[in-house]
């Protein structure tokens, strides 16, 4: 049986396609723009492998003596939900491949970099570190 593609279906498919495209574009543009900005701030060529290493690097918190890393909350699998280390609140998956909202808003990315670098590393991240992590996350 042949599937008849009528005009309404065509436009629906078209709209879905457009929306997917827009999300991908939003993500790509936010990431691209930020990478460019980090470059202007002094970052060299970004490196996803360095980003992954930093993401998984365990740091001992000076005040509490706790071992901390990005994985503490986001877990080892970026496509799975994470859990806030202190409150237990559910964190949506970080990987853009399963959570299209991720890496689409520059301001949000910057906010979380600032907040979470400080908690995890005890300092803000350098433009190079942010560029590497962004490159790593964008491919997940």
């Amino acid at each position: 049986m042949a599937i008849k593609v009528n005009r309404r279906m065509m436009s629906a498919i078209f709209l879905v396609g457009i929306s997917c495209g827009l999300i991908v574009t939003a993500q790509a543009s936010a990431v691209q723009e930020l990478l460019a900005e980090y470059g202007k701030e002094g970052a060299g060529k970004y490196n996803a492998v360095n980003g992954e290493n930093l993401w998984k690097r365990v740091q001992v918190d000076a005040k509490t003596g706790q071992k901390r890393s990005c994985v503490t909350c986001h877990t080892n699998d970026l496509r799975k939900p994470g859990k806030h280390a202190r409150t237990g609140k559910l964190i949506k998956p970080m990987a853009p491949s399963v959570n299209a909202d991720r890496l689409t808003d520059k301001k949000k990315i910057e906010k979380w970099f600032h907040r979470n670098c400080k908690w995890t590393l005890g300092r803000i991240c350098t433009p190079q570190e942010k560029a590497d992590i962004l490159a790593y996350l964008a491919n997940q």
Binding site: K63, H84, R86, T87, G88, K89, K107, E110, K111, H114, R115, K118, W119
Partner: protein, 380 residues
């Protein structure tokens, strides 16, 4: 002497008696905050039965009518004196002292019902008397409700002693008579059976059953992932930015739970928000502040917010809800091992036990300690 039985108590009187016993016991056992919805159901049935008893005291069969058993006070006193000496004459219906006990019990019951409705209305903001008076009155109504319940319990104690004594004295089981309706014939008194009035009793039971089903309909009809909330709190302000920013890391605690000065301090100290740097821009901070302040303005809309606010001294600016003395006092019986359980996680996690924490209501009836995932036993 004809040794035969006589129907003394009609069916509605018996349904009333045991229904009142059951609803009183149920309400007593379900007095804990978390059972409020069922406590109130028991209370409505109790109240309804008492109102029915007033009607039946005028329209019921002979021994159910007030006119048949309300005797002058001195007569009741005389009876008590004789009873103390073990020489009280037998009465087919209520004896003269018992008649007054019925009146006293019914009056106490009605007062319990009314103070209960007042407590429900003024403290909780529910029921037909919701919000008729300021919350300041709630403590008085609540205390009276409890004191009257104790008074009725002691009257019930006296009633049981009297029933036991009289049963022994006349060698007949009065409790059994209240079940079957029959007593031994007494030649000196009326000798006709009273009407059974089965239809009235059936209607009485039907109304109570119907009301109970209607009251509990939510438990039966509710579907979906969200838990059923028997009580809905007042309309509280909501704000998408608040939910998003605060809710990203923890429950977006409703602003009504802390005073304005606390929110101001929290938002001013965003670089050290419980040792995290929030890094929110000035625009976001001021929008959050504006919402917190308006949300706070309605701080007495829920029982929880009213009580939290009243427990904070004017000179104090708590940054945690759990610092306030109302919160501490309300949670003082919770053992430490419960707080650290994996499905609770800590004092910050209101949602673990308060099904309506997200809405900001904290209704008594929406509180329950979750089962322990492992062995399904309750710690408390």
């Amino acid at each position: 002497m004809v040794s035969s039985k006589l129907r003394v108590w009609d069916l509605p009187t018996r349904v009333f008696h045991w229904g009142l016993v059951s609803s009183y016991v149920a309400a007593w056992l379900l007095r804990g905050d978390q059972y409020l919805h069922l406590h109130v159901l028991a209370g409505y049935l109790f109240f309804f039965l008492l109102l029915f008893r007033l009607y039946w005291g005028l329209a019921g069969s002979f021994h159910a009518r007030f006119s048949s058993f309300i005797r002058p006070m001195p007569e009741a006193w005389e009876y008590l004196k004789k009873a103390a000496g073990g020489k009280a004459p037998r009465h087919l219906g209520h004896n003269p002292a018992g008649g007054w006990a019925v009146l006293l019990l019914v009056s106490l019951g009605l007062m319990i019902s009314i103070t209960g409705l007042l407590t429900l209305g003024v403290e909780e903001g529910h029921g037909p008397l919701a919000g008729i008076l300021e919350r300041e009155w709630a403590a008085l109504f609540h205390a009276s409700h409890q004191a009257l319940a104790w008074a009725m319990l002691s009257m019930v104690g006296l009633h049981l002693v009297a029933v036991f004594r009289e049963s022994m004295l006349h060698r007949e089981s009065l409790p059994l008579a209240m079940l079957t309706g029959y007593k031994r014939t007494d030649t000196r008194a009326r000798t006709e059976n009273v009407q059974p009035h089965a239809a009235v009793a059936l209607a009485l039971l039907g109304v109570m059953l119907g009301f109970s089903l209607w009251w509990g309909r939510g438990y039966l009809l509710h579907s979906g992932n969200e838990p059923y909330l028997p009580f809905s709190g007042p309309m509280l302000s909501r704000n998408a930015l608040w939910e998003e920013e605060c809710g990203a890391c923890h429950l977006a605690y409703h602003p009504s739970l802390l005073p304005r000065r606390s929110w101001n301090r929290l938002l001013t100290q965003q670089e050290n928000h419980f040792s995290e740097d929030l890094y929110l821009d000035a625009g976001t901070i001021s929008r959050l502040r504006a919402y917190a302040v308006t949300g706070e303005a309605g701080n007495t809309v829920t029982e929880a917010s009213w009580k939290i606010h009243n427990s904070i001294p004017a000179a104090k600016t708590p940054v945690r809800i759990t610092e306030t003395s109302y919160w501490k006092n309300k949670h003082k019986d919770i053992p430490e091992k419960l707080w650290t359980r994996s499905n609770i996680g800590g004092r910050h996690n209101c949602t673990a036990c308060h099904l309506d924490a997200r809405q900001g209501w904290f209704e008594d009836g929406a509180m329950r300690i979750p089962f322990n995932g492992k062995n399904m036993t309750r710690i408390m």
